[in-house]
Symmetry: C2
Subunit: 260 residues, 2 copies
């Protein structure tokens, strides 16, 4: 059986008891860190904590040569580890379809995910979030504009937008992500964009996550410290959301009276 | 310090190591099960597994008399347990604001959540989900129509909708939830509603979650077994999503050729 185990958000202590026991019982343990990363730990520390050797897989091992993983799982339990909750990345879904097509059973052990963690950390309300999106790093100077479109469409529907940030090469910072969006808004002459509120979140799941809200123009150069970073551009806020942002994210108090 | 600890999805093994250690270190442990429930365990089993006495709180203990919790947390570490990832319910946000306003520090230990678990279990793609919604049980024969509006608006934007189901009194089944939506669609003469695909998910996080996709008219009386239940009404599907639904959710193969 191929068992997808979510490691949760930050370090080796974020895995569930069920996940840990699954790893201990498995005959072989793989991990991938290209769809997300565990910034509070290392493979060495994971191996010590879980008491198992772990083989790190690259994108090609999974997307081009998945047979090795699938055949290893044919007659024994294999744990496939990844940060967060598994299957959020399409590459996991693809591997799972291939495994089941090859007659290898699969299972998922869930983990905590940035998708819901940001809701708790910010105090914003779950049912007010629209579609989320990822900002890729510009490639050959071409900036993908779809994250901006997702934001505008959510805003039209009065919904908050969660922005996940590219982690290939180096993890993107909130500052970089905002500047990419600002570049797009300038190109579209949407000069009011920088008056929107932004809630930046760094190191979710760690002992000291940073959660800071301010207007985009005032938060552009804020130092959020080490990665991973993510941010929310909220739509119109409910009164309790404003209270929460002031309390948990040091938002400027003028949001209480200002139409945001 | 008041530490909100997410217990995850189903039983006592879904908590993170970090959450378990927090409970063991805490001087007092509260739990609430009115915003969500852990169907695979009981408070007795939680107490045995965590090695701590746990006090069950009702809605009024939290919303009307929160001072007891806050004052208990003033000079010692208090763990406040709930199913899933904390703070998804507004009642937790409110408690956290009140605690911080009273000068009591708070922290969140994240847990796995139905919000991302359904994505992994169904094989649908995260960035294609719009706003989620909850179907309340009709009160004095009045049916709240907002969940239907959320679905229609998501559909207009080609986004999937996750429906969470009322758990007050008895947990609502997928069948009940669908019949409530069908009632609204009939009232609006939206007779095509029942030709939409539905992905029902029962007992996420357990050893044997049921994931079953079919057209609403064909799944209305399907027996999903014991709660908790939830379902997704997908928008237009990507080819890989169709493959995943056939493989993981026994969707009828005609969705491959049919415009869904």
């Amino acid at each position: 059986m191929l068992i997808f185990v979510g490691l949760g958000l930050y370090d080796e202590m974020d895995i569930s008891i069920k996940g840990l026991e699954t790893i201990k019982r498995s005959k072989k343990v793989f991990v991938e860190f290209y769809t997300s990363k565990m910034m509070g730990t290392t493979i060495d520390r994971l191996e010590k904590f879980y008491g198992k050797d772990i083989e790190l897989l690259g994108r090609e091992d999974i997307e081009i040569r998945p047979d090795k993983i699938i055949e290893t799982a044919r007659n024994k339990d294999v744990a496939f580890l990844c940060a967060g909750d598994p299957m959020i990345a399409t590459t996991h879904i693809d591997l799972r379809i291939r495994a089941e097509d090859a007659g290898v059973k699969t299972r998922i052990i869930h983990g905590s995910s940035i998708q819901t963690a940001v809701i708790g950390l910010s105090g914003l309300q779950n049912y007010k979030f629209g579609r989320s999106t990822t900002i890729p790093r510009p490639y050959k100077n071409i900036i993908a504009e779809s994250p901006y479109d997702v934001f505008k469409n959510n805003l039209d529907n009065n919904l908050h937008t969660l922005f996940l940030l590219d982690i290939s090469d180096e993890p993107m910072t909130i500052n970089e992500g905002l500047k990419i969006l600002l570049n797009i808004s300038d190109k579209r002459k949407d000069y009011k964009f920088k008056d929107n509120l932004c809630v930046g979140i760094a190191r979710a799941g760690s002992d000291n996550p940073v959660v800071k809200a301010d207007f985009i123009k005032d938060i552009l150069d804020y130092n959020f410290g080490p990665p991973l970073h993510t941010f929310i551009l909220p739509a119109k806020l409910h009164f309790m959301e404003k209270e929460a942002l002031i309390r948990f994210a040091k938002a400027p108090k003028e949001i209480l009276t200002k139409e945001t």
